[in-house]
């Protein structure tokens, strides 16, 4: 009683949320944070519409207008849409597949903290001297160079994007391994709900899309701060950014769309009492769409002057890729046929989004035709098209998801009347807002003043925007009030059949009473949990939050803090160094917990796991990670090829590297991995001592590799060959530097193995981590196999 217990309750409340690794908690964190960014970005968008209400307005002009437009786009696309989808996915997907949590709970927590920190850094960028990024969310070079966009704002946004991309990549590994390997027995792919299916497609897209964004943003950061000129070089510098960015940018739009489509499909299925029409065909279609989405990006570059043949090919692939989505729309409409439709708020939003998809999709088809795209590129036709999709389909779909799963997550019912009012106002106003934009097909994007003949349409759009924006106050009030005072929700208020509805609202910490299983005829049963299977253990750890905090400090250090030293143009401050130390300490704590098996989760006895049968969770996750990392290096090596192909000879500053050092280091690296593998052979024969010796030798040789590299670099820098010495030099340092960082992490990881071996943790039959770190070394070696000839021979 009294003060101390309130403080105690508060402290344990904060502690619980800072250290949680439970997917339901993390889902709630994602949902709340993404709603904040939605409101922030919405305000920015409304400011734009205020400025455009009349020609000649002076509310927001010049660079400030560009800042608002840029951050409205970035916040909506990166910090609102996907995170809200993944918040819902975090909460719902394990329930839909009958699992207890995601495959890697601590990694999941880390994904969230990195996301939050990246958003905070993006917000802080508004306060940088010179303002935040003002170059459009597409960040075209060379406008983004430090000459044309000086100031730290853009650097902070770049850092935010990189941190966000890392968060996403970790989430990719988690969701892919979870959905493949942790489905309850009987939950075959054929029975998987559409929402979980679309999350699979989404993470596959993320796996191969985000590496090029990371590479491009990294190059941008280096160009602005370390004296390189990746994007500023004549002939091709701009093209390099455009290709890297749009190779990410196009799959990104499907990354945004797919989860919403999954929600809409689940909602329509539930409230029309029918399974999605032709579901198997639709799933097949969407998987083809996923694959094709990687070969259509040139349709964002139709007027850049690239070869006609390539434009024709990708115009054709763009037409083909529309097919799965047309099929999906038709299937969703036909699902209503012979159903019994119950019009709840989520159902209204779902049906409204189908109508919006018809308009948005059709106007997109115009853009697949090159002659039409020539006229529409950079105009409000494009703005209208994509807003119909992001606002009309994606946001409507996510709203449907929020309303649909609100009872499950909170245990309360929202007010249905308010929900329907929200839908009515939102649906009417969205057309007032975006339909006029198609009549503005001549008006350029991102301008703050315009020709008088465009005034009427702009005014209508602004009025629509105000109403549309205000309409979101309704769910804010509705949800907040219902959270505290809403009537208690039953387990299954909608009479739905997917598995999240077969448990309480909200579910218990362990999700289901008993182990879910689906029999051959589709019946869901819950086996009593006794003896054999583990009771639910939940792990709390501060390490993921620590890493996030360190990253935040690192970002803040770009703006503030006493300067310690400077690398080229980058001032490294005390706060940044403090951030790095906090990250290191957190990683050590994480590894320490692992060495002491604090977070061991036994594998479930049985699960559906095709097509990764026989591949355990950790190795599956490692392969997913490696593939992303390989693609990242591939993009870097591709940049080398790109620059070299157009230059044919290197610019002045080219230097032939010392072949002797190259060969020595090559030999060292190849032998290091050889010893690692020898150690593995010994371990399998039961000879732990020889195993430890092999690992130690591998570590020693890896460190030798690094020492040779340091020696080589110091001599090169002394000779005047630095990052600013021309394209070959900057590629050399970037590639071998990143490779060297990988070798360093590999050495540290192998040392960790040695530590565990010395503690007696490794036997012939139990040696978690050895194969996985061996895979990592294989990748490091593969990359060097190309880097060696690239820099020492060609």
């Amino acid at each position: 009683m009294g003060e101390s217990s309130y403080i105690g309750q508060f402290r344990s409340f904060v502690w619980r949320w800072l250290t949680t690794t439970n997917h339901k908690d993390i889902g709630i964190l994602y949902i709340l944070t993404s709603i904040y960014f939605f409101l922030a970005a919405g305000v920015l968008g409304t400011l734009v519409r205020f400025q455009l209400a009349r020609p000649g307005n002076t509310i927001l002009t010049g660079n400030e207008y560009n800042e608002v437009v840029t951050m409205h786009g970035l916040f909506m696309l990166l910090w609102f849409a996907s995170p809200l989808a993944f918040g819902l996915a975090n909460y719902i997907v394990p329930l839909q597949i009958g699992a207890r949590d995601l495959a890697f709970p601590r990694l999941n927590a880390l994904s969230y903290w990195l996301y939050l920190v990246s958003g905070l850094i993006a917000l802080i960028s508004f306060f940088a001297p010179g303002g935040t990024a003002s170059v459009g969310w597409t960040l075209y070079a060379p406008l983004t160079s430090d000459i044309y966009a000086p100031g730290k704002g853009l650097d902070l946004v770049g850092l935010a994007i990189i941190l966000f991309s890392i968060s996403v990549t970790l989430g990719t590994i988690n969701f892919l391994v979870t959905i493949v390997k942790m489905r309850a027995p009987g939950m075959t792919w054929a029975r998987l709900p559409m929402f979980s299916w679309t999350i699979v497609f989404t993470v596959l897209l993320m796996l191969w899309a985000f590496p090029t964004l990371i590479v491009a943003t990294f190059f941008l950061f280096m160009d602005r701060n370390l004296g390189t000129r990746f994007f500023e070089s004549p002939i091709g510098g701009s093209y390099l950014w455009a290709h890297l960015f749009w190779f990410f940018g196009h799959p990104e739009v499907y990354i945004l769309l797919f989860p919403a489509l999954g929600i809409i499909a689940d909602v329509i299925s539930t409230f029309s009492r029918r399974q999605l029409f032709a579901k198997n065909i639709i799933v097949l279609g969407l998987s083809l769409g996923t694959a094709l989405s990687f070969v259509v990006w040139v349709h964002h570059m139709f007027i850049t002057g690239i070869a006609l043949e390539i434009r024709k090919i990708q115009s054709f692939t763009t037409a083909i890729i529309s097919v799965p989505f047309e099929m999906t729309v038709i299937a969703m409409i036909l699902t209503l046929w012979r159903g019994r439709i119950w019009y709840t708020t989520p159902m209204l939003f779902a049906i409204g989004s189908i109508f919006n998809f018809i308009i948005g999709g059709a106007t997109g088809v115009f853009l697949s035709s090159v002659p039409l795209d020539i006229a529409f590129r950079g105009t409000y036709w494009v703005v209208g098209h994509f807003h119909y999709i992001v606002a009309g389909v994606i946001t409507f779909g996510l709203m449907a998801g929020l309303y649909y799963w609100f009872p499950k997550i909170t245990g309360r019912m929202y007010n249905e009347t308010l929900g329907k009012i929200h839908f009515a106002i939102a649906f009417a106003s969205i057309h007032a807002l975006y339909l006029p934009m198609f009549f503005l097909m001549d008006m350029p994007r991102r301008i703050y003043d315009y020709a008088p003949e465009w005034a009427t349409y702009n005014l209508i759009a602004t009025v629509g925007a105000i109403i549309f924006g205000l309409s979101f106050l309704i769910p804010l009030v509705n949800f907040t009030y219902s959270l505290w005072r809403g009537p208690r929700a039953p387990d299954n208020p909608w009479g739905a059949y997917t598995m999240e509805w077969l448990t309480t609202s909200p579910p218990p910490r362990h999700n289901f009473e008993g182990e879910p299983m689906i029999t051959g005829d589709g019946r869901v049963v819950f086996l009593a949990a006794n003896g054999g299977y583990h009771h639910h253990v939940e792990h709390h750890t501060l390490a993921p939050f620590g890493i996030g905090l360190g990253a935040l400090l690192f970002g803040l250090g770009l703006l503030y803090g006493p300067k310690l030293f400077t690398i080229v143009n980058l001032d490294v401050t005390l706060i940044s160094i403090a951030g790095i130390l906090v990250i290191a300490a957190s990683l050590l704590k994480w590894a320490w917990d692992d060495v002491h098996d604090r977070f061991a989760i036994p594998e479930p006895r049985a699960a559906e796991d095709w097509p990764l049968t026989g591949v355990d969770k950790v190795r599956s996750g490692v392969w997913v990670f490696l593939v992303g990392d390989l693609f990242l290096f591939g993009a870097l090596i591709g940049t080398w090829l790109f620059i070299r192909t157009r230059s044919l000879v290197w610019e002045p500053g080219y230097m032939s590297h010392d072949l002797a050092i190259g060969l020595v280091n090559t030999f060292i690296l190849f032998t290091a991995t050889y010893f690692y593998l020898l150690g593995y052979i010994f371990l399998k024969r039961g000879n732990t001592a020889a195993f430890t010796a092999g690992m130690s030798l591998a570590t020693a040789l890896a460190i030798a590799f690094l020492l040779v590299k340091v020696f080589e670099w110091s001599h090169l820098i002394e000779a005047g060959y630095t990052l600013g010495s021309g394209l070959q030099a900057q590629l050399y340092y970037t590639l071998t530097g990143l490779h060297g960082a990988h070798v360093l992490f590999g050495a540290l990881a192998t040392m960790y193995l040695v530590a565990k071996a010395l503690k007696g943790k490794y036997t012939r039959d139990s040696h978690k981590g050895v194969v996985e770190i061996g895979l990592y070394w294989g990748m490091v070696e593969m990359i060097w196999v190309f880097l060696f000839p690239m820099f020492y021979l060609l």
């Binding site: 290709h243 990687f294 690239i306 594998e603 990764l612 026989g614 591709g638 021979l793 060609l794």
Partner: protein, 98 residues
């Protein structure tokens, strides 16, 4: 569950020899001008070495098809990206502001 991989001394040693020998071969052939198209030669030798690493060091030959598909898909996407990017620059007309 750590995957029962074929850990063969003979196989690992063979790959090691190909890696080290291949590096030397590349050096000799390119610096002495024996290879007429050095970039293609490197692609071939290094590509072969990388395949051996994947198949034998990383035990891809013992993994199911889904895992085998991962590096293949990665490579295909990379080729798609590079094909468009490189041809786009080769086809355009340069201009120097003057």
């Amino acid at each position: 569950m750590t995957g029962d991989f074929r850990a063969s001394l003979a196989v690992y040693t063979f790959v090691w020899l190909v890696l080290v020998g291949g590096a030397v071969l590349e050096a000799v052939f390119i610096l002495n001008g024996i290879a007429r198209w050095p970039e293609l030669f490197v692609l071939g030798v290094s590509g072969f070495q990388a395949s051996l690493i994947l198949l034998f060091y990383m035990h891809l030959r013992d993994e199911p098809l889904s895992v085998k598909a991962m590096p293949v898909v990665t490579l295909l996407l990379l080729v798609a990206l590079l094909a468009s990017a490189i041809t786009s620059v080769l086809a355009c007309t340069p201009y120097v502001a003057g």
